[in-house]
Amino acid sequence: MIPNSLPILTILVFLPLACCLLLLPAWKRPRLAFSLALASMLLELALTVGLFASWKGLAAVQTALPGFLLLEDRSWIEAFGIRYTLGLDGISLLMVMLTAFSFCVAILVSWRAIKERAVLFLVLLLAMETGIMGVFLSLDLALFYLFWEVMLIPMFFLIGVWGHGRRIYSTIKFFLFTLFGSLLMLLAIIALHLFHAQQTGVVTFALHALLKTTLAPHTQLWLYAAFFLAFAIKFPLFPVHTWLPDAHTDAPTAGSVILAGLLLKTGSYGLIRFGYPLFPQAAHILTPLFYTLALIGIIYASLVAFAQEDMKRLIAYSSIGHMGFVAIGIAAWQPVALSGSIIQMANHGVTTGALFCLVGMLDERAHTREIAAFGGLWGKTPLWSFFFLFFSLASVGLPGLNNFVGEFLILAGTMKSSPLVAALAFGGIVLTLIYMVRLVQEVCFQEERQPLELTDLVPRELCLLALVALLNLWMGVHPAPLLDLIRTPVRLLIGGGP
C-alpha cells in the first residue's frame, strides 16, 4: 500500500515543519493558512491511518530490529556517535495516530477561536507536531532528547501568547518544570552512553545498543532516577504535577487538547520505551514508590477536583487521575496491564481532548468557565450537553466507551501482581465518577443560575465532536485491532508471552 522506498517516518516527522515554510507566504491571509495547515495535518492523519491499515503487511517483512515495522537509520553527528534513527512499532504507531488525530482536533477547534496572530499560531502548532512525532519515533537517545526539548518551545508560546488568565506565570512554570527534569535526564543519557563506550568501545546513543549495557545496581538506580524524574514531571505524577492545572487552565483550547492528549503521553511513552527497558532492575526496585505516587495522584487529584470551580481546572485534575491509572499499569510491568496502559493513553487523549474542546466551545460563547455560572444547559444547548455527557461518561469508564477498556485491562493486570493497589485504584474510579457526575449535573441539569445567551454547536463543531465520539465508541466496543497492534511490542518489551 505504501511503497517501501519512501522515507515515510521522516515524512511523518518533518511534513508539518515543511508546511510551516509554506505558510510564510500566507502571512497576511489567515484563512488560507488555516486551510493549508489543516490539509497537511489531514495528510499526516491519512498517512498514519494508511500505516495502520497496512501494518500486518509491514510486520511480515523483517526489519533489523524485532518488532519494528519500519526503520530509518542515517548517520548524523558522527563525532558524538549520534545517529538519526527513527523506528515505528505498534506502540509508536498508536501514538503517532493519536498525534495526527489530536492535531486535527486542535486545529479544528481553533478555527474560529484564534483570530489574532493566526498564522504564527499555526506555525507553532505544526512545529509542535514535528516535535511530538519525533519523540514517538526516535530510537536514538540523543535524537529523542532533541525532539523532547523542541516540543516545549511551541507550547511555551501557545500558552503564553494565546492563553488566558495568568498565562505568563503558567507558561513559565510549565517550561521550567519540564526543562528541569529533562536536563537531568540529559546528563543521565550522556552518562549511560559513556558507560556503554567504556564497556564496548563503541560510541553510540542507539537505544538497542545501550540496552545491552551492564550497569552496577547503584549506578543504574541513579540513572533511572534521572529518567524517572523527567518522565514523572511530564506524566505528571504527584508531587511534581503542580504545573499541569495552571498550564491547562490558562492554555487556549488547542493547547489544552495537545497538552492532555499528547504531552502527557510523552512521559508515559518515554517510561515504556526507555525507562523500564534500559534500567529493569532499578525500575523494579522503585516500583513500590511508583505505585504509591500513582495512587496518591489518583486520590489526591480526585479530591482536589471536587473543590474546583473552573471546569477546565477540574478536567485538568481529572487528567492527573487518569494518568495515575496509566502509571499503575506501567508499574505492574505485566503484559495485560501494560497493554491497558498503552490503550488508556490513547483513550485519555481522545476523551479528555474532547472534554477540553467542549469547555473551550462553551467558553467562547459564555466567556466564563465557572461551574457556578451555568445550569440547565440541557434545555438550552442540547447538542453540546449531549456530547458533554457522553464524554464525561467515557471519562469515568462507562462500559462500551473507550476508557473502560483501558481501565479494565490495567486493573485486571495489576490485580495479579498487587491486589491491594488494584483495590485502591478502583476506589479512585469511584471518586472520578462522583465528581464527573456532579460536574454534569451542575452544568447541564440544574436550574439556570445566570441568564446566558448561548447558541448551540455549529456544524463544524458538530462534525468534529461526532467524529471523536464515533472513534471513542469504536475504541470502546471493538478494541481488538488496537490490542493486536501492540501485542508483539508489549511482549518484546516485557520479554515473555501474554
Binding site: 558522527e78 558524538f80 501568547v161 521550567l176 546528563l187 552518562a191
Partner: protein
C-alpha cells in the same frame, strides 16, 4: 667585532597578524583623508580585510610551523581560535556602523582598533612563549580599553573605559607576576621548556614557586574571562561600552583568554592537572552560579547579558575542569557558538536602542515580536541558543562540555551545570515573554535595519542553527585542533 646575527625567520605563522596590522595602520592613515560623514567605508574595508585574514588563516589549516625561535606557532589550535576572533571582529564591524552613526560617534579610529585587538588575540592563541602571550594580551587589552570608552561623549562609556582600564591593568599585574615566578622557577618562558621542567620534577606541585606562578597566572586569566570571583568589572563595563563593542568584548577576548590559558595549562602544566582542575572546579561552580543568579534580577538587557556571559564563561570552565579532549574541544566549540549567538543578540539590541538611550531595558522589548516578526524570531533563536535549547548551537556546546565533565567523573559538576542552565532559562524566557506576551508600549517606528546589520544577523542566525543541526562540520575541526596540544 662580531655582529649580532638576526636569524632568518619564517613569517608564515604570523602572516594573518602582519596583514591585519598593516591594514590597520594603513586605515589609520586613510582615515585622515576620509571626510567625517563617510567613515563607514573604513568599516567596509576592514570587513573585507577580516575576510582576507580568514582566508589566510584557512590556508594554513593542518600545517604545523614553529617560528621566531619557538615564540609563535601555527597549528590547528591557533587557527581555530583565530577563526573565532575574526568572526567576532567581522560581526562586530558589521553592527558597529549603524550604531556609531546613530550615536554620532562614527570615528574612523574604531575599525583599526578592532583589527588591532584581533592581532593581539591571535598572538595570544598562537603564542608558545609566555612573553608572546603576555604581549598579545596587552595589545588586545589596550585597544579594548579604548573601544570600551569609544563613545567619549557618553559618561557611561567613559566610566566603562576607565574601569576596564584600571581593573585590566590590575589583572595584568597578577598575570605578569605569575609569569615571572614561573620563569624564576623554571628558567624559561617557553611553554614547551616549562613543560619539560615540570615533567622532570617528581612532584611538581611541591615546587612552591612554580605552583604560585601557575596560580597567579590562572588568576590573571580568570580576570580576563570574567570568572567569579574576579568578575566584578564585567557588568559595568559591558553596560557602559558601546553595544557593538560589548558584543565584541563578550566573545573575542574571552575566547582569547581561554585559548592562552588552555595552551599554558595543557602544555606547560599538564603534569599538575590534578592541582589546577580542583581549582577550576571551584571557579566553574562559582562563576556559573554567581552569573546566573545575578542575571535573574537584571532589568537592563545589556547587564543581563553581561551576567549571562559570566555564566557562559562558567560553562567553559567546566570544560577546563575536565581537561580532557572532549572538554577542551567543547570549549572551542562553545566559544564559536557563543560568538554567533551572543553577537547576534547584541545586534538586535543595537537595533532596538534609540539615539541617546542605547542601553535598553528588557521592558523595551514589549510587543516587539509582532511589530518586527523577523527580528524577533532571530532574537528568540539567539536566546534559546544561549539557554541551551536544541536544535541550536548552544545545546550542542553544552552537551559537549558536560560530556567532557561526566567522562572525567565530575558528575556533580555537571549536575550543578545543568541546574544553572535551567535557572538561566528563566531570564532568557523573560525577554521572550516581553517580546511576545506583553502589549507593545512603543511603535518601534524608528527602527531601521541597515544592510550590514542584516548581513550580520543572517550570519549569526545561520551559524547558530547550522552548528545546532549539523555540528559535524565544525566538530571535526575542533577535535583535530585539540589533538595536537
Amino acid at each position: 667585532m662580531d655582529m649580532i646575527t638576526i636569524p632568518a625567520v619564517n613569517m608564515t605563522p604570523i602572516m594573518p597578524e602582519i596583514f591585519l596590522s598593516v591594514l590597520a595602520m594603513a586605515l589609520l592613515l586613510i582615515n585622515v583623508f576620509v571626510p567625517s560623514g563617510q567613515k563607514s567605508y573604513i568599516g567596509y574595508i576592514s570587513f573585507i580585510g577580516v575576510i582576507a585574514a580568514a582566508v589566510l588563516v584557512g590556508t594554513g589549516w593542518g600545517m604545523h610551523v614553529e617560528s621566531f625561535n619557538g615564540a609563535v606557532v601555527q597549528d590547528n589550535f591557533a587557527s581555530f581560535f583565530k577563526m573565532i576572533f575574526l568572526l567576532a571582529a567581522g560581526l562586530a564591524i558589521l553592527i558597529s556602523d549603524q550604531y556609531m552613526v546613530r550615536e554620532e560617534c562614527n570615528h574612523g579610529e574604531l575599525y583599526p582598533l578592532i583589527l588591532f585587538t584581533v592581532v593581539g588575540m591571535m598572538l595570544m592563541a598562537a603564542g608558545t612563549d609566555l612573553m608572546t602571550i603576555f604581549l598579545g594580551l596587552e595589545v588586545m587589552s589596550v585597544s579594548l580599553y579604548v573601544l570600551a570608552g569609544f563613545n567619549r561623549e557618553n559618561r557611561k562609556s567613559n566610566e566603562a573605559g576607565l574601569k576596564y582600564f584600571l581593573l585590566g591593568a590590575f589583572s595584568t599585574g597578577f598575570l605578569l607576576y605569575g609569569m615571572a615566578l614561573t620563569y624564576g622557577a623554571t628558567g624559561s618562558t617557553r611553554i614547551a621548556d616549562i613543560a619539560t621542567f615540570a615533567a622532570q620534577q617528581s612532584l611538581p606541585s611541591s615546587n612552591v614557586m612554580l605552583l604560585a606562578g601557575m596560580l597567579l597566572m590562572i588568576t590573571g586569566f580568570a580576570f580576563k574571562v570574567a570568572a567569579a570571583p574576579f568578575h566584578m568589572w564585567t557588568p559595568d563595563v559591558y553596560e557602559g561600552a558601546p553595544t557593538p563593542m560589548t558584543a565584541f568584548m563578550s566573545a573575542g577576548p574571552k575566547a582569547a583568554g581561554f585559548a592562552a590559558a588552555l595552551r599554558i595549562l595543557l602544555v606547560s602544566f599538564s603534569t599538575m592537572q590534578a592541582d589546577w582542575s580542583q581549582l577550576f572546579w571551584v571557579l566553574a561552580v562559582l562563576t556559573m552560579t554567581v552569573g546566573n543568579i545575578t542575571a535573574l534580577r537584571q532589568d537592563n538587557i545589556k547587564r543581563m547579558l553581561a551576567y549571562s556571559s559570566i555564566a557562559h564563561a562558567g560553562y567553559c570552565l567546566v570544560g577546563f575542569t575536565a581537561g580532557n579532549p572532549t572538554g577542551t574541544a567543547g570549549i572551542m566549540f562553545y566559544m564559536l557558538s557563543y560568538t554567533f549567538m551572543n553577537i547576534g543578540a547584541f545586534a538586535i539590541i543595537v537595533l532596538v536602542g534609540k539615539k541617546g538611550e542605547p542601553n535598553g531595558n528588557v521592558m523595551d522589548f514589549a510587543g516587539f515580536g509582532f511589530k518586527h516578526p523577523a527580528l524577533a524570531v532571530a532574537m528568540s533563536i539567539f536566546l534559546f541558543s544561549l539557554a541551551g535549547m536544541p536544535p541550536t548551537a548552544g545545546f550542542i556546546g553544552k552537551f559537549y562540555l558536560f560530556s567532557g565533565a561526566i567522562q572525567k567523573g565530575y558528575i556533580w559538576l555537571a549536575v550543578i551545570g545543568v541546574l544553572n542552565s535551567a535557572a538561566s532559562v528563566y531570564y532568557y524566557l523573560r525577554v521572550m515573554v516581553y517580546m511576545y506576551m506583553k502589549e507593545p508600549t512603543e511603535e518601534f517606528d524608528w527602527l531601521q535595519v541597515s544592510a550590514p546589520i542584516a548581513l550580520s544577523l543572517l550570519i549569526s542566525v545561520t551559524g547558530t542553527l547550522v552548528l545546532g543541526v549539523v555540528p559535524s562540520i565544525v566538530l571535526q575541526y575542533a577535535q583535530e585542533a585539540i589533538k595536537l596540544i
